[in-house]
Amino acid sequence: MSRPAPSTITPMPVDRIATNRAIQIGQASAPAEEVLMENIQYLHCNMRPPIVRTIFRPDTTTPYLVAGTTSHVIHAGWARAPFADFTQWDISVLVQNTSSVHSAEVRWTIQSSGVTAVTPVPKDTAAWTEKATTITFDPTETIDTITMEIKNGASGALRVHSVEIRPTAIGTVAAGKSTGGYVALDTDEIGADEPLTTYIRQRMADNLEALRKTRVQTIVGWSEGFTRATTSQFSEISSSYVTQAIIPFQSGYGQTSIRWALHGRRLGSIGTVKLEVYQGDTMQDSEEISLQTTWASGDSPPYSAALHDYTGGAAVACIANKPGHIKVSLKGDGSAAALMFSLCCWFADGS
């Protein structure tokens, strides 16, 4: 028995599966049927869209976050849906540690489980050095928040420039049907150098459909400013909506719905975020989110009371296979601001 988890994909020469012959022409390493299966299994293991891609800019001249203290402080948090068939996130962060004596660290926490992982940043780490960490998440959660805390060593400063988070590749393929609908195939079933059975052919096609529909890409995974209780990268006092961000996207085949989650708060009586989906000159759909105000009364990390997501409102519609953009607007009450600290948008599972 062997359920392979290949690390590369093998282009299939046309003469191995040419029309008018059964695909039983073997080759030295594996029969063509097996290569066909291994390529699909490769996608199952490695098709892993990133969920977070953020470059930090706390002000107009500083392209990094700084750890102001030697204690862990939450600087960013991203809320979004996990992928069904993965269990870990690969976190890649570009950092600098100016201390020539002490190491510093970035700490990551999964809100639902409390699981943490630490990225050590050794002394004299030059700007910008990539550091990698892996953290386990709960794939059954509808929405989960990943927070990022940073702290200095006893001397020097830790600077965090950018982050990418994506699922960790699958290394061992389990038997049976996965939560995402993928059925692992075994070389014993198809490696006999014989034509594939109708069942296996249909299973392969169904597996590809399952991958296309469930490994949907992220439109945006941004966060910044959790430590700033009364200011933010996105802050608006005006009582009329003011555009804050325009986020380009490209919808894929069968993708007609965009899910979202954001952290924000209001300082006054009114604070609202509006998400509008435009494709061409037409606004397809929009959603307004009234922000909570409990932060001032003591909401504490990871600021779950500041989290708003599509399950409390609605997903926004889009047209499949078409470029577009999400326009993000904020409004306050005319004297006090509305603030936004994070925004993640991703396509709902395809059809």
């Binding site: 994909i9 049927e33 470059i55 420039h161 950018s162 594939l196 590809l208 941004w222 961000a245």
Partner: protein, 189 residues
């Protein structure tokens, strides 16, 4: 497939009978697999998405941004798109490319510095890739080491105002990193 299936659309398996059914189905499955892996499907969207949003840089010169990205298999080039306004240049670099690419931005409103506004900003993309660039400063999609598995690459972009002292500035609101694949004339390795 040995060649990227340009224009492929996902479909359910065709009902077939007879001796050739197995190979015809295999061709369909192979096309679907390659499409997913190549990027006209979800594979390509793995690397699509803004890296930079938020308040734009204003009145600064030569500010650099870097991000490490997981680039899908069979990526040959990477386009970068910038939602921006004003006057200046954006220099783009990839850790797998010997030379940089430079994008001149001229989206001015009224006055010498232009009128910066995210509502009036425009999306500007690097131009098509060049086979052998040989020099810095060309407007082209960046080269990626071509391989049959995904790999990590670091991308850097430097935002430079046309004339900071004179107030002629460039603001960048959003960045998109978009992988490109070879056309159908090039066999996959």
């Amino acid at each position: 497939m040995q060649y990227p299936p340009m224009g492929y659309e996902p479909q359910t398996m065709t009902v077939r009978n007879g001796q050739t059914a197995a190979s015809l189905h295999a061709i369909e499955i192979d096309a679907y697999t390659t499409w997913l892996a190549c990027g006209w499907g979800l594979g390509g969207c793995q690397a699509y998405g803004p890296a930079l949003i938020g308040a734009p840089f204003v009145g600064t010169s030569g500010v650099e941004f870097e991000i490490s990205v997981n680039v899908p298999e069979w990526t040959q080039h990477v386009h970068m798109g910038f939602l921006c306004s004003g006057l200046g240049t954006i220099t783009c670099e990839a850790s797998s490319d010997t030379y940089n690419a430079v994008l001149d931005i001229a989206i001015a409103g009224t006055g010498t510095s232009g009128t910066h506004s995210i509502d009036n900003a425009q999306m500007v993309w690097l131009a098509e890739p060049i086979g052998s660039p040989g020099v810095n400063g060309l407007n082209r999609a960046l080269d990626i080491t071509y391989q049959d598995s995904s790999n990590r690459r670091t991308f850097k972009f430097t935002i430079t105002d046309a004339d900071t002292g004179a107030g002629i500035t460039l603001e960048v609101y959003s960045v998109v990193i978009l992988p490109r694949w070879p056309d159908e004339s090039a066999a996959l390795p």
